[in-house]
Amino acid sequence: MTITVQIPSALRRHTGGAAKVNCSAANLNELFTDLGTKFPDLTAHLRDENGQIRRFLNVYVNEEDIRFLGGAGYTFKDGDEVLLVPSIAGGI
């Protein structure tokens, strides 16, 4: 199954400049492993020293926060579009 991952500009130096990457994965853990295999320098930016997904990295699937879809337990579907977005906010 093919998933498209959009790479934010801050991380494109680790993907040879690629803004979109096609991956094959059943869930988020597999996705990050696949990304790490394709672009070894990327792993340290996605996971912390303990292998956990970095606290301030938000993952969206088809524009929905993956935490509303079951988080790490979400099973990707063919054609899913994944966005990696840093936490930012306005408000008070």
Partner: protein, 426 residues
């Protein structure tokens, strides 16, 4: 571009560093550490600032936020274009007696200039940097108040302006953006979705997004709210601060401001408790505090307090740390309680606040009731926005008065309906 934000090299007064891995990024329009994705924060060389940040020097400054310029990330020789801030801190005796408090103060940014919310403070600092970074267009994602502040100050400072908002914002906040000539983009979705889109747009367009790539500088403007509280209390810190939370930034910046004042010897050291306030319909931070969690679980907002309707607060983690680390607490209140508190503040103190202010007071009432805040402690409530922008929540609260003819007899009849008859000679 990107030159001249601050003196570089030996004389540098401030720079961006990662809050988590501490990597230095100099002064650039960037909000995220590209190594670990954590937020960037402005760090200062306090030794070089100490002599410029004394009570005496501050007192010689103008009666607005620029009196604290030495501790703001401003380009060298920056000339402010608007008198923002220095809003009233009032002792709220009437409100205090009605909620079981004694030493209660209201910091009233419902009358902050130019657009009647505390967002004027942050935008002023953001646009100072937008200019020095060379942007000709400024932008933001907003729940309304930031839209108003950005659009107004963009007009004043000659920037082109694009504003992104959830489509269902209060009409007054929409009109209060359009009037300044900003290009308004309404998004069919929640603020969190608008925010996510803006981070993607900021990735592709060289614009100064005040709460994306200018965010570290912008957020520092919030510190002025804290400096003013301390100065207006006679250079003393309060015992407690009750602060509304959306993204969770303001509460952390008030704490930073107080700590800077202590570190620079401007106030006596004091332990201040921080209390966060949210609407129950969007309470990711207060829920985490109550559950003892270090991180938030995002929520889908459903509350009339739209300026606080951020379900995925970027500074949630730091807001939780600020609250729990201070021994404070976080509360949340229902929509009817928000309206009731807007009315109570208006009726007791003559202050008309927006829904976020109703949230703050509503939570404060709970905190007094549960003895988390004690009556004799000096407590400051942060009122951050103006009720004229959210009148829609009050329309069903008051009956429309029937007109009377312009005759004295008609008025006397009306008055009679309100007054109990008094017996003559009694």
């Amino acid at each position: 571009m990107f030159v001249g934000a601050a003196r570089i090299g030996k004389a540098m007064r401030y720079e961006l560093r990662c809050r988590e891995c501490n990597k230095s990024w100099g002064n650039v329009p960037k909000s995220i550490c590209e190594d670990c994705f954590s937020p960037l924060e402005v760090f200062y060389d306090y030794d070089s600032i100490r002599a410029d940040f004394t009570r005496e020097k501050i007192a010689q400054g103008p009666p607005n936020i620029w009196r604290y310029s030495a501790l703001l990330p401003l380009p060298d020789h920056y000339q402010p274009t608007l008198p923002v801030g220095f809003t009233p801190l009032i002792k709220a005796n009437g409100l205090a007696s009605s909620i079981g408090a004694k030493k209660l103060y209201i910091k009233n940014d419902a009358v902050c200039l130019p657009t009647l919310s505390f967002k004027d403070r942050v935008v002023a600092v953001a646009l100072a940097n937008a200019k020095s970074f060379g942007f000709d267009t400024v932008s933001c994602s907003s729940t309304g108040n930031l839209a108003n502040a950005t659009a107004a100050q963009a007009a004043r400072n000659g920037f082109k302006c694009w504003i992104f908002i959830p489509a269902d914002l209060e009409p007054a906040k929409i009109l209060g953006t359009q009037v300044f000539g900003a290009k308004l983009v309404r998004i069919s979705g929640s603020y969190d979705q608008v925010n996510r889109l803006c981070s993607q747009i900021a990735d592709e367009h060289l614009w100064g997004f005040v709460n994306v790539n200018l965010r570290p500088y912008y957020a520092e403007g919030s510190k002025t709210f804290g400096y003013e509280i301390a100065e207006q209390l006679g250079w003393r810190l309060p015992d407690n601060v009750v602060c509304p939370m959306a993204g969770g930034s303001l509460i952390t910046k008030i704490k930073k401001a107080f700590q800077e004042l202590i570190d620079l010897g401007v106030v006596e050291p004091k332990h201040v408790k921080f209390f966060g306030a949210q609407a129950t319909g969007c309470s990711p931070i207060s829920t985490a505090v109550k559950l003892g969690n270090a991180d938030i679980d995002p929520q889908k907002p459903n509350t009339i307090a739209r300026s606080l309707a951020i379900g995925n607060p970027a500074d949630g983690h730091y807001a939780i740390k600020t609250i729990t680390g201070s021994g404070g607490w976080s509360e949340d209140v229902s929509d009817p309680d928000i309206v009731d508190s807007i009315q109570l503040l208006a009726e007791t103190e003559g202050i008309f606040t927006e829904t976020a202010g109703g949230v703050t007071l509503g939570c404060a009432r709970k905190l007094y009731k549960s003895d988390r805040i004690l009556p004799d402690e000096t407590t400051v409530l942060c009122i951050t926005g103006n009720g004229l922008k959210t009148t829609d929540v009050l329309v069903d609260e008051y009956e429309q008065e029937q007109p009377i003819a312009p005759k004295l007899a008609e008025f006397e009849r009306l008055l009679g309906e309100f007054e109990l008859p008094v017996a003559v000679g009694a």
